[in-house]
Amino acid sequence: MPVLNAFSNPPVGVASPSHISFFTGNPPQQMQVFSGVAVFELTSDGGTVSDTVEVIIGFVRSRNIQFTAKADLASISNTDSEFLFAIDSTNIKLNEQTGEIRLVANIAVQGDESALLRFSYHAQVLSDVVDTLISGTIRWQENVATPTGRLPIFNVVVGTFLTPPGGVPHMQPVASGTSEGKAIRAGGFWSVAYHVDNVPLGTSFNVLPSVNGTSLSNFPPGANASSTAFVTARSVTLTPAMPIALGVDFEMIIPQGPR
């Protein structure tokens, strides 16, 4: 049986493949959920026929994973005979070199004639985080500004503030990132996610967002992108035991006072 591929574009032998990814727990781990319908053809003209179907569903960066996997019969046919359709076992196979994840299902069919043509699958893969990063959400009230469509909306710098003798404090960056995608409007706010990768371990750093050029408009009268402030100022220290900081959230405001 050929290997099916839900991860390729277009998918090969997989209908409606879908995938979500998120972080959960403390320290955070990455959970990936995969589902789809594997499309193949296993036929019998009398005796029981067994085979193995492998579906490439995605990739992980870590080699330390936990998983669940299930498959359900989704398409069968028979031409007026005794029959058997079976998904006898399911498993997840990790390629230690590439991080590729495959769902493996052992299936069987019997009849004169019978065909097993599809199964639907669902897999959850929980893996350790191997990158260092800081991530969060930046939100702002609808009356503060409106996205113009230019992306990214925000730049985010991670670093330390240095104050030269007699000078003004300035950020010495060690890593930078941007907001991801378009902002979502809900509950009276706009919200967008950001993350900064490759943040060094063991040092307390400040996280400082800023508006990216003309990505926002419709500021209140007298205000512009440089009038914005991000609360609350945050400092974050990553460690080998906690190499990822999630939920470092900000709200963009227009500070009150003379402009």
Partner: protein
């Protein structure tokens, strides 16, 4: 492929059309979206109703829509989803003489949405011969942005 032959709506875990209903919610974080909630729904839904008319020479294809009760917040935003469906109860009757050949399929799950606190999913189904998909098991994994869970600066 056209799925115009029939359409069934299954609505409401409290109305008996969805049984073995269960759901869990988990606060989460994502890198590429402001998603802050994971919701997983599972159940067994009524599929084709009664004894569907069949034609020995034709495969019939249609749409089954499954809609949950009000289990989400009104202003939740669906960021992404995974959905899955499989046979739970199927039936084949060969007493009619010419209905011995049969086929049944859940072809794909092309659409998931949330609206006004309810989750809906659409399943493309097909059957041939005197066969019937009575119920199907389903699950939906939802990645959601819930504004009320955001607490900047904490």
């Amino acid at each position: 492929m056209s799925y115009d032959d029939f359409q069934y709506q299954t609505g409401g875990n409290s109305e008996g059309q969805i049984t073995s209903w269960s759901s869990v919610e988990l606060p989460v974080r994502a890198l590429d979206s402001p998603a802050n909630l994971y919701v997983r729904l599972t159940g067994i839904a009524d599929a084709l109703r009664g004894d569907p008319a069949w034609d020995p020479d034709r495969t019939q294809r249609g749409i089954l829509s499954i809609t949950s009760d009000f289990i989400l917040d009104i202003d939740d935003v669906l960021i992404d989803s995974c959905a899955n469906a499989g046979f739970a109860r199927i039936d084949h009757d060969d007493s009619s003489g010419d209905g011995g050949e049969f086929g049944m399929a859940l072809d794909d799950v092309p659409h998931v949405e949330i609206s006004a606190g309810r989750c809906s999913m659409r399943v493309h189904v097909a059957f041939s011969g005197d066969s019937d998909i009575k119920t199907l098991s389903f699950s939906a994994d939802l990645l959601i942005y819930r504004p009320s869970l955001v607490r900047p600066g904490t």
